[in-house]
């Protein structure tokens, strides 16, 4: 028999510890355990922290009884990992009762269980980009000559976001488009593949049409948590509506000021819609824990420029003023030179501990090229996750964790990293903490005892072989298609590790750290910057045809969205933000184009800016 007191001590430490470091508003969110809640959370308002506390609270107060569970939907896999790792650090271990993942992930999950009820096989694969392009090309050459593949794809994606399928004879589809769409679906189906859009659209259909699926999953998930709700589209709204409607309660976190995915069919009106549908109570988290005062004030002045928004206060907690700089350079070259100088200076003065605390943010991916070239010439390390030569997914995370461990076999941090990767791979479902640790220890033992173990980039494949990663992937994959994908991604990663290490002359530790976001300036687009934070940011290319994008100029909603993109980018900074632009650049056709600084900069009162020396 277990020692009854062991249990009890655990109990006491969980229940009686006051909830630390939460504001009264946040406590309100945590303690509202039944009913539906819409939480409007500004940037840096500690929403992940609050949600984590809430999940812990729901379990420790037995609000969710055994064996039932909680569904937590986040917008990105990174956010899901973050949430899991925070829960883990709080001692949470009942992973078979909490499902954390993205909308697509949840769709994938229920479709692999009961997809047959909406006419697909449960062992479907997900189409990869190359394959999809082939299919699109094939469809176009057969059914829709002259159309660009990416346009067809956009069109199909948009249909799926609305839950429209070709068989439905929907009047919204022109007949030629319907035929092409039907052909596309047919080809996917033949290969037993789904595309990304299907994962949500079919899952919603499954929840609507299969009583069994709906009963099993709504019955199991007694509580629903959703993050970044302002970026949901109609199908995602529907998914949450179905899942949360009969739950004991839900917490839906949103910030309509950070809605930047309109181009992907997101509708910030969904926040109001879900509030109405569920009859939710609204709580606003208006304290910014992240940024220094001047950045919060500048952000406020930008966002308040929008007429049609729910008014929200934002209050900075930081007692420091922080810094805001702006400068218009005559050319891209000069902008690049100066930005790189500033970054070097921050590093020299030891303002940052790690290059990774500095980010260069741009509205689009090409505008940053001149900066990258400059950094390359001065050999300043930079890293852009979007330019990664392999797919960033759990199996590569596991592979990198094992490589990291191989460099430092005695490090408990690295061991922990392997354990976390093991657990995150969906295996959390079958294993508890201890077992994941066992797996990690076994990996370490294999590495430690194998005479062929040499921690060099060229040896990466050998290291993974020694760790018997292949067997692990096999154990943890739910189908052979999964397994093949895992293996392929991992092999691509190994090749990339070697290639990049050679070209940058890095050791295995350095390259692994680099992929973890350390030791290099982070280069990132505004959209991808969401949810991240850095000590220093450089928002470059702030010209009036880039942010706001020139295609957005005519429509007020588009301009508003561009403004929010700027708002999101700016609020990534903890201590300082540099806003730069160039008044001249070469257009794609080779002629010189004159530009003016972004209109959004002028929304920020002059007195907020510190003087810069160039």
């Amino acid at each position: 028999m277990q020692n009854p007191f062991a249990n009890q001590t655990l109990h006491i430490s969980l229940t009686d510890k006051p909830i630390m470091s939460l504001t009264p508003k946040q406590i309100e969110v945590v303690e509202a355990v039944s009913g539906h809640l819409v939480v409007l959370a500004g940037p840096g308002s500690g929403k992940t922290h609050t949600i984590t506390e809430k999940v812990i609270h729901l379990f420790k107060k037995h609000i969710i009884a055994e064996p039932y569970g909680l569904l937590a939907i986040t917008f990105t896999n990174a956010a899901a990992n973050e949430m899991r790792s925070r829960l883990r650090s709080k001692g949470f271990h009942q992973w078979d009762r909490v499902w954390v993942g993205t909308f697509h992930g949840f769709g994938h999950y229920i479709l692999t269980c009961y997809g047959g009820d909406v006419g697909i096989r449960e062992d479907f694969g997900i189409i990869e980009k190359d394959n999809q392009t082939n299919i699109l090309n094939h469809v176009i050459s057969a059914k829709l000559r002259g159309v660009k593949p990416y346009l067809l794809k956009q069109q199909i994606d948009s249909f799926k976001r609305q839950g429209i399928y070709p068989s439905q004879g929907d009047s919204r589809l022109a007949s030629s488009l319907r035929i092409a769409y039907a052909e596309y679906q047919h080809l996917l189906n033949e290969k037993n593949m789904l595309d990304f859009g299907d994962l949500v659209a079919l899952a919603v259909r499954l929840l609507k049409e299969s009583d069994l699926t709906k009963r099993l999953f709504t019955n199991f998930f007694k509580y629903v948590v959703v993050d970044e709700f302002q970026d949901t589209d109609r199908q995602q709204l529907e998914m949450i509506h179905i899942m949360a409607k009969e739950a004991r309660g839900s917490t839906i976190v949103a910030d309509d000021d950070q809605a930047i995915y309109r181009f992907r069919g997101a509708d910030r009106a969904n926040v109001v819609a879900i509030e109405k549908l569920l009859g939710a109570t609204r709580i606003t988290l208006d304290t910014n824990f992240r940024s220094d005062q001047v950045i919060v004030d500048a952000a406020k002045s930008i966002i308040e420029y929008e007429a049609n928004r729910t008014p929200k206060k934002i209050v900075a907690v930081s007692k420091r003023r922080g810094h805001l700089y702006k400068h218009e350079f005559p050319s891209l070259e000069e902008e690049a030179t100066q930005v790189v100088k500033w970054i070097a200076l921050l590093n020299d003065k030891a303002k940052v501990e790690d290059w990774g605390e500095i980010a260069v943010i741009s509205r689009n991916r090409w505008r940053v090229d001149s900066i990258l070239e400059k950094m390359n010439t001065v050999q300043m390390p930079w890293f852009d996750r979007a330019r990664l030569g392999f797919q960033d997914s759990w199996e590569t995370t596991l592979g990198l964790a094992i490589l990291a461990l191989s460099c430092n076999l005695n490090s408990s941090d690295e061991l922990h990293r392997v354990m976390v990767a093991v657990e995150d791979g969906g295996l959390a479902f079958y294993l508890n903490d201890e077992d994941a640790l066992d797996v990690a220890i076994q990996v370490r033992d294999k590495l430690a005892t194998d005479p062929k173990m040499r921690p060099t980039p060229a040896n990466a494949q050998e290291i993974l072989n020694i760790a018997q990663v292949q067997e692990m992937l096999q154990t943890y994959s739910r189908s052979t298609t999964d397994y093949d994908r895992f293996l392929k991604n991992l092999q691509t990663m190994v090749v990339e590790v070697d290639r990049e290490a050679k070209s940058l002359n890095l050791s295995l530790v350095e390259i692994v750290n680099r992929y973890a976001g350390h030791g290099a300036v982070q280069v990132i687009t505004s959209h991808r910057s969401k949810g991240r934070e850095f000590d220093y940011i450089f928002i470059i290319g702030l010209e009036d045809d880039i942010l706001p994008d020139h295609r957005a100029h005519k429509k007020i909603e588009s301009i508003n969205e561009e403004r929010r993109i700027f708002y999101v980018s700016l609020t990534r900074a903890r201590e300082a933000a540099y806003l730069t632009s160039a008044s001249e650049r070469l257009s794609r056709w080779g002629n010189v184009k004159k530009t003016t600084p972004s209109r959004f900069i002028s929304h920020i009162p002059e007195e907020f800016f510190s003087a810069v020396s160039v």
């Binding site: 020692n3 009854p4 039932y68 449960e122 099993l216 079958y430 189908s479």
Partner: protein, 684 residues
């Protein structure tokens, strides 16, 4: 919740066993039939402590025959149904729920087989629902906690299950119990008790002595040895918990192990019932070996009812007809070891057997005939007389009905078609030999009706014999002969009279009322009136036509007592007994023990006749005299295997037995004896 199906493949002697348990399932079978293995297989999959059992597995647990055929696994598959009524269980298995109409169910499977490296490992999986293309998923701890199996073994150790340490039931029950409200008090009393004990003169001096020894071993040792009633550390208090039982309030409490095994049994089952009622996480299943073996009949019956009331599937094994008699016939599982190292499970197929039959069977079992389900073959007999006499006939034939597992089942009022149906191949598959009194064929078509209801003859045959024609008796007899039913000449009494028991029967009639000789006088009056004689026909006519049923039993007793002296067995009963034995033995293998087996199967007198026919009498008697053995099985066997004359007879004996077997209606067995290699004779 219910268990829809259990399928075992290749586990020890359970090569292929499929059963459909009911709410309470009663598993019966001879020793070594595989009852324990069936439970063991279930425990491997469902017992919360299964990890320990799985460690003990090896390749040897795979059925030998299966391994010989190249199958390298064993598996246990269980279907749990009615989950729609248990949302918490359903929730644990939400990824792989299957549906059958409104009922939801899951199929879980444990398999022991080699992995890629050839190392044998156990895997527990939730199988993919029918028609879905996803893979099975491993069973998580939470899942297995949702459907735990509690097992009480035959050699129950009440002490183990009523201690809070280890893995017994009590420790599971106490798992969530909180006693912080009294823990300070208890600690104080324990200290006081320990102190009181150590004030004892001898105890304290023993403790001092031990402490002195210890001190010399431990450098700078401050440790004291104290002889204690219990640990004083309250955090370990629960380990000392145990169940005591007080028979009456004024009696002292005793540890449960000091009470009788019957009371221990009841206590364990009470604990289980409580566990079921209070179980928050999932729905437990109880598997219990030989419940109530130590209880008196009323308590057994009560126990069975208690088990049936548990809101949870219960599986039990038993050897006790007293337990079986209360079971639902469709919940009976018969395990029979058939081929070498292979056991087959038999269960009634309710779809075929029908509700009326089930009711009749239940009634039969309640009336104390449940024993027939333990039999290897049964003989249907007309009444009480045969029940009294047949075992004696069997004995002089050289066989023992109990040893060979043969049950005599009375055909109560000629309604036994349901028994025959239940015994058919696709049901319990118990060979049934039917005997009847042929006089009934003169009066009505009832016997053919039974045969028809037992699906042995068709409607047309039945109809063709329903009219009272000139030849109706022989027509009916012919039909019954064809299906192998064995008719006594008119009735039991006539049959025995014809077999040489006439005087015995007459004497019995006279003895029945020695004072007034009322029966004897009635007999004479009857015979006179009907112009009959004091012969076989007259006597049987008297007994059956004057409804002197009170004579039947005295007559039967008298015959039974005379069997040894008369030494005759009426042909029809000899045939029935031999046939029953032949099927229960599944033929007589022709090897060096052939003659011994043949004698035990009831062919002793066949051999004796053979010896007489071959004029070997003298040699046989001489052999018996010199060797000082009796003219019984042992004498015959030794004569045939040791003496020169005897050896010369062996082949003839074999053929004579084959002929006799054929005459009993077992052509197949006769054929296999005849065709067997006679080489044993020369080597013997």
């Amino acid at each position: 919740m219910k268990i829809r199906q259990v399928s075992i493949r290749n586990f020890r002697n359970l090569r292929k066993v499929d059963i459909s348990p009911m709410k309470t399932t009663v598993i019966i079978g001879e020793n070594n039939a595989g009852k324990s293995n069936l439970f063991y297989a279930l425990r491997l999959l469902l017992d919360p402590q299964a990890e320990r059992l799985r460690l003990d597995l090896s390749e040897d647990d795979i059925n030998d025959n299966a391994r010989a055929e190249g199958e390298t696994y064993f598996s246990v598959t269980v279907e749990f149904g009615d989950l729609q009524k248990h949302q918490d269980v359903e929730a644990c298995f939400k990824e792989r729920i299957d549906m059958d109409g409104d009922e939801t169910f899951i199929t879980i499977k444990g398999k022991y087989e080699p992995d890629d490296n050839g190392i044998y490992i156990w895997k527990s999986l939730v199988l993919s629902p029918q028609g879905r293309s996803n893979n099975p998923i491993p069973i998580s701890r939470r899942m297995s906690r949702a459907i735990p199996l509690y097992f009480l073994d035959a050699v129950r150790d009440a002490a183990r299950d009523t201690r809070a340490t280890g893995r017994g039931l009590l420790s599971r029950l106490l798992d969530n119990a909180n006693y912080t409200d009294v823990q300070d008090d208890v600690q104080e009393y324990l200290r006081a008790a320990n102190n009181a004990l150590n004030k004892g003169r001898e105890i304290s001096s023993l403790a001092r002595g031990l402490t002195n020894e210890l001190t010399s071993l431990v450098p700078g040792g401050q440790s004291d040895i104290v002889i204690a009633v219990a640990d004083e550390d309250v955090s370990h208090l629960a380990r000392n918990f145990r169940l005591n039982i007080r028979r009456r309030p004024e009696f002292p409490q005793y540890d449960i192990s000091r009470h009788g095994t019957g009371l221990q049994d009841l206590t364990l089952i009470a604990m289980f019932r409580h566990a079921v009622a209070s179980e928050e996480k999932g729905k437990p299943i109880l598997a219990i070996e030989e419940p109530g073996a130590h209880l008196h009949p009323h308590a057994q019956r009560r126990l069975f009812k208690d088990l049936a009331e548990i809101d949870s599937p219960v599986l039990l094994t038993t050897h006790s007809p007293a337990i079986v008699k209360f079971a639902d016939p469709s919940s009976l599982i018969l395990l029979r070891s058939e081929a070498r190292n292979e056991t087959t499970a038999y269960q009634l197929d309710s779809k075929e057997i029908g509700d009326d039959d089930l009711k009749d069977l239940a009634q039969l079992m309640r009336n104390g005939r449940a024993e027939m389900f333990f039999a290897r073959s049964i003989i249907i007999i007309e009444g009480q007389s045969e029940l009294i006499v047949l075992p004696h006939f069997a004995k002089i034939l050289g066989c023992d009905l109990d040893r060979d597992g043969i049950s005599l089942v009375q055909a109560n009022g000629n309604n036994y078609a349901f028994i025959l149906r239940a015994c058919q191949k696709n049901q319990f598959s118990i060979p049934a030999i039917v005997t009847y009194d042929a006089d009934a064929l003169n009066y009505n078509n009832t016997l053919l009706k039974e045969a028809k209801r037992a699906n042995l003859i068709d409607e047309a045959t039945y109809q063709s014999c329903s009219k009272n024609t000139q030849s109706v008796f022989s027509d009916r007899k012919h039909v019954l002969d064809n299906i192998g039913w064995i008719g006594a000449i008119n009735c039991f009494e006539e049959e025995v009279c014809r077999a040489g028991y006439l005087d015995i029967v007459i004497q019995a009639i006279e003895d029945a009322d020695p004072e007034h000789q009322s029966h004897s006088r009635a007999l004479d009056k009857y015979l006179h009136k009907n112009s009959l004689n004091r012969d076989e026909e007259g006597i049987s006519s008297f007994i059956s036509n004057t409804k002197r049923n009170n004579l039947k039993i005295p007559v039967a007793r008298a015959v039974a007592n005379a069997v040894r002296n008369v030494g005759q067995v009426p042909y029809c009963y000899a045939r029935a007994i031999r046939q029953a034995i032949m099927v229960s033995m599944d033929g007589i293998p022709v090897d060096e023990y052939f003659e011994r087996r043949a004698c035990e199967a009831g062919y002793l007198n066949v051999i004796l006749e053979m010896i007489k026919l071959e004029n070997a009498d003298a040699a046989f008697e001489q052999f018996l005299n010199t060797e000082k053995v009796k003219k019984e099985t042992i004498g015959v066997v030794r004569f045939l295997t040791e003496s020169q004359t005897g050896k010369g007879l062996r082949n003839k004996v074999k053929n004579a037995i084959a002929d006799a077997v054929e005459v009993t209606g077992c052509e197949e067995y006769a054929k296999s004896i005849r065709q067997s290699d006679p080489s044993y004779i020369s080597h013997g």
